[in-house]
């Protein structure tokens, strides 16, 4: 294609945006509404997923060692844990270290426990982390079967529920986003179809003077692209400003230490680009789909 032909297509496509008046407003409105929803949803999902990943990273297994075990036996337990393939790290924490961290964590009330410093009732402990947090449960079972391991703790129920919740949230979110995008494509393709029906005669005339299908399709392609891009401006503004306030003001959300929002930059910028790309994609797909059947003249 000649450059001047491309220029022509761009000119025609942008002119159509203007000429179609209210139809353009309707299409852009459809894209805007969808993208606001998709954008808000994406922001929510990605943050949830981020929080979930952080929580998963904190999941650890504590293997309590039999009080009667001697040093050689303790080392043997450590080696046995090391040999489990899914294990990422093993840290030894003696019963004295366990007691002082317990006392620290309880603050004033912890003072009561100081009297146990002479006769420590706690166990020596191995703190184990797995490479993939999802392996926690199976690794915990393997550790439990090692001799001289008295007990294991990993917050069984919390971990299991957390993993389930994360998986559900991701899947449902994905389905909703895909659904929203298809709705938008359907809406935009319908509005463009209406404008094309009005131009059906024109398309017929173009074909009669020897225009190829792609020649006729190009301006519509540009038009769809522009509609999508125009439709993504407002959602980007709403979502970036919204996110800015959410992540910068000390609000209820950020009071929980485990709720840590993804930082405004680069997250908001990445999200804006994604919204722009989805908008452009919806516009192009919608318009190219709707013109297809009008080309058979």
């Amino acid at each position: 294609m000649r450059f001047s032909t491309l220029q022509r297509h761009v000119r025609e496509g942008s002119r159509n945006i203007w000429r179609n008046g209210w139809m353009t407003v309707a299409s852009v409105g459809a894209v805007t509404t969808t993208l606001v929803l998709v954008g808000a949803f994406l922001a929510l999902m990605l943050n949830l997923s981020n929080i979930a990943t952080n929580l998963e990273k904190d999941v650890q297994i504590k293997a309590l060692i039999d009080l009667t075990a001697d040093q050689a036996e303790i080392d043997a337990v450590g080696d046995a844990i090391q040999r489990i393939p899914e294990v990422a790290s093993v840290t030894f924490s003696s019963k004295d270290e366990e007691l002082s961290s317990l006392i620290d964590s309880l603050g004033e009330e912890g003072k009561v426990w100081e009297m146990y410093e002479q006769d420590n009732p706690l166990n020596d402990v191995y703190i184990v982390k797995t490479t993939d947090p999802l392996d926690t449960i199976s690794v915990a079972k393997k550790i439990a079967s090692i001799t001289n391991v008295e007990e294991i703790t990993y917050g069984q129920e919390v971990v299991q529920n957390l993993f389930k919740f994360n998986q559900y949230a991701r899947n449902i979110g994905l389905v909703l986003i895909v659904g929203l995008i298809f709705t938008a494509i359907f809406l935009i393709s319908n509005t463009i179809k209406i404008t094309i029906i009005a131009r059906r005669r024109e398309i017929g005339i173009m074909k009669l003077v020897g225009a190829t299908d792609s020649f006729i399709r190009w301006p519509f392609f540009i038009e769809g692209l522009l509609l999508g891009v125009l439709g993504s401006i407002v959602p980007i503004l709403i979502i970036t400003t919204g996110y800015y306030y959410l992540s910068h003001s000390g609000n209820a959300l950020t009071q929980f230490s485990f709720v840590e929002l993804l930082p405004f930059s680069p997250f908001a910028i990445q999200l804006s680009l994604v919204i722009l790309a989805i908008g452009a994609g919806i516009g192009v797909w919608g318009s190219v789909m709707s013109i297809r059947k009008f080309l058979k003249v």
């Binding site: 001047s4 024109e202 005339i205 003077v209 020897g210 190829t212």
Partner: protein, 228 residues
């Protein structure tokens, strides 16, 4: 340049519009197609720029066999054929200039050549001073002249006109005929379907009469009429 061999055309609804036609038309000829409404004139014309595909038989135009042509080649065929319609078929939102230029944009002519050539043909049909008007602002005769300008702008070897004077008053019709004769004089083949007895009998050319999907008469310098 145009050869039809044993051509039949039956529409999906069962109507047979062309019932076995053999005809040859040479480069540079001016041919009137006459016949009553529903005789198959329009189908005959539509077959020539492949708006319709023959059910049987061969149509060869400028060495292209239309019956075996691929869908992708159709635009290329149409670029070599200018078509003028009774209802003009101009793009309503474009100016006169843009309507004519469109046929050149399609073949990716350079902007410079487009400007030069469009002004040239608009001059030829006497509409140079109306280049910026839109079709609705013009009279019927003027709109038909725009359509003719568009049809000839890329130097087609063949110009097909389907009742080009059908919607025009007699005086305007003569004006259109004068332009068509000029185009023919420069070597372009012209095939024109018409109902105008006056035109056919005054400007004497080859006359092909079609009735019931068949050629019932083919005469050089013929008269109007289709009853045998």
């Amino acid at each position: 340049m145009i050869a039809m061999e044993n051509v039949y055309k039956t529409y999906p609804n069962g109507v047979t519009a062309i019932n076995g036609i053999d005809v040859t038309i040479d480069q540079g000829e001016f041919v009137y197609i006459v016949g009553p409404s529903g005789a198959g004139k329009s189908t005959f014309i539509k077959l020539m720029f492949r708006e319709e595909v023959p059910t049987k038989g061969n149509i060869v135009i400028n060495n292209r066999n239309l019956a075996k042509m691929k869908w992708k080649e159709v635009p290329l065929l149409r670029r070599d054929i200018g078509v003028v319609y009774q209802d003009f078929k101009l793009l309503p939102k474009l100016t006169v200039y843009e309507n004519v230029a469109f046929a050149l944009e399609v073949i990716e002519e350079t902007p410079r050549n487009i400007r030069r050539r469009v002004m040239q043909v608009l001059d030829q049909v006497g509409l140079k001073n109306k280049a910026r008007f839109i079709p609705d602002e013009l009279s019927g005769g003027e709109q038909q002249r725009v359509a003719i300008a568009r049809a000839i702008v890329n130097h087609p070897k063949l110009l097909i006109a389907d009742e080009p004077t059908g919607n025009l008053d007699p005086e305007t019709s003569w004006e259109i005929m004068r332009i068509l004769e000029e185009i023919n004089a420069s070597g372009t083949t012209i095939i024109m379907a018409t109902h105008s007895k006056e035109i056919v009998n005054t400007i004497k050319k080859r006359v092909i009469a079609i009735e019931g999907g068949l050629i019932v008469r083919d005469e050089h310098r013929g008269e109007y009429g289709y009853e045998i």
